[in-house]
Symmetry: none
Subunit: 244 residues, 2 copies
Amino acid sequence: MTDAITFPDVRIVLVETTHPGNIGAAARAMKNMGLSRLVLVAPRDFPNEKAVWRSASASDVVESAVVADSVADAIADCQLVIGTSARDRRIPWPMLEPRECGEKVFSEATAGNAVAILFGREARGLKNEELQQCHYHVNIPTAEAYSSLNLAMAVQVIAYEILQAARGDAPLEAPWDMEFASAESVEHLIDHLEQTLIEVGFHDPDNPRQLMTRLRRLLTRVRLDAMEVNILRGFLSAIEKKIR
Amino acid sequence: MTDAITFPDVRIVLVETTHPGNIGAAARAMKNMGLSRLVLVAPRDFPNEKAVWRSASASDVVESAVVADSVADAIADCQLVIGTSARDRRIPWPMLEPRECGEKVFSEATAGNAVAILFGREARGLKNEELQQCHYHVNIPTAEAYSSLNLAMAVQVIAYEILQAARGDAPLEAPWDMEFASAESVEHLIDHLEQTLIEVGFHDPDNPRQLMTRLRRLLTRVRLDAMEVNILRGFLSAIEKKIR
């Protein structure tokens, strides 16, 4: 047992989970590894006694789970968002190994940032639009013959690596001079940017191609701080003022 | 996915498992991580369709499981035997961390040794007489509040570390889809941005404060790719065209 390691704000976000047993098993895996904040986005069957039963002695985690309507709601105030993903995506995103993920989550949580780790549906994982709200993707390596992990097993591996990092010599993140922007403020920035792109005639929503996906990838992977968001919003407002 | 890593003789030995669902979940975890040899010592309820159902696409592992009467029978021909254990035992035994365990198992299996890893009963683990047949004990660190992992979760963590050891330094980083931008092209972008900021009245070169330094920090740390530079240059040109 590892004494008294606390994770001030690391939340595990399960998106549209079908089987309540998986919610319970994930809660147990979390508590075993010292995590307690569970967020359920539109679960298919919750509350359900199977979730409590499978959680064994982690029923407190199940019972205090927060239900959210959307991924955006679940992560609105988070400053680091990581999505679990199979490796191959058309537009590559910054990737972490589970071990790197554990170190990053621990060091950022210790620095006071709110962290969310997203886990997708049992059969289909996270949608592209959900993955594109993440700063990083994490992929759990598997054998070639069978690559689909059970949902709670994936939570177990990721939570295990967070506790490993907490126990070990995980390097602490160099301090930044500003606090990182929340997921919600970045979403507002991206909305504002899209509006401005349309107004200056650079973006045609009827023929979007990959433009917004590429800009979204840029603006998530850079991990904007709060002042940068303010600067960019100010620039967009100045453009609008000038052209109206 | 990790290509074609094979573990010549690494067997997972589950001792007197009560719930057949745990056997199936353990089999899935094994196959996900490239292990296939499952040995069941005196299982309480096996064969059972729940084991097959919970194994998902690892029913081959369940169906080829070998049933043994005792731990001694299960490990008779093994040259390295590791038992999972809670940490505190009256007589200390050589201990491995899960990560060390993964490395040891992989290196010995690669050298041709037959390896067994023992997992005990759901409620009570391995008996002392069983643990004393092991060369090493391995303990999965947990949080203080709840130290009892589900059996299949423990198999998942140990099997994950074996595959991690086998993968070694295999890079996970997905190739980026575009070449990274040259330093010169980023300098031109920053010049263009500054010009536009002045034209829309957001930046006063006579009173620059930290604006350009902050934007430069943003645009260098994100490691822009060539297409992103083109997109941003195109956006700036569209703004200029609109306001002139």
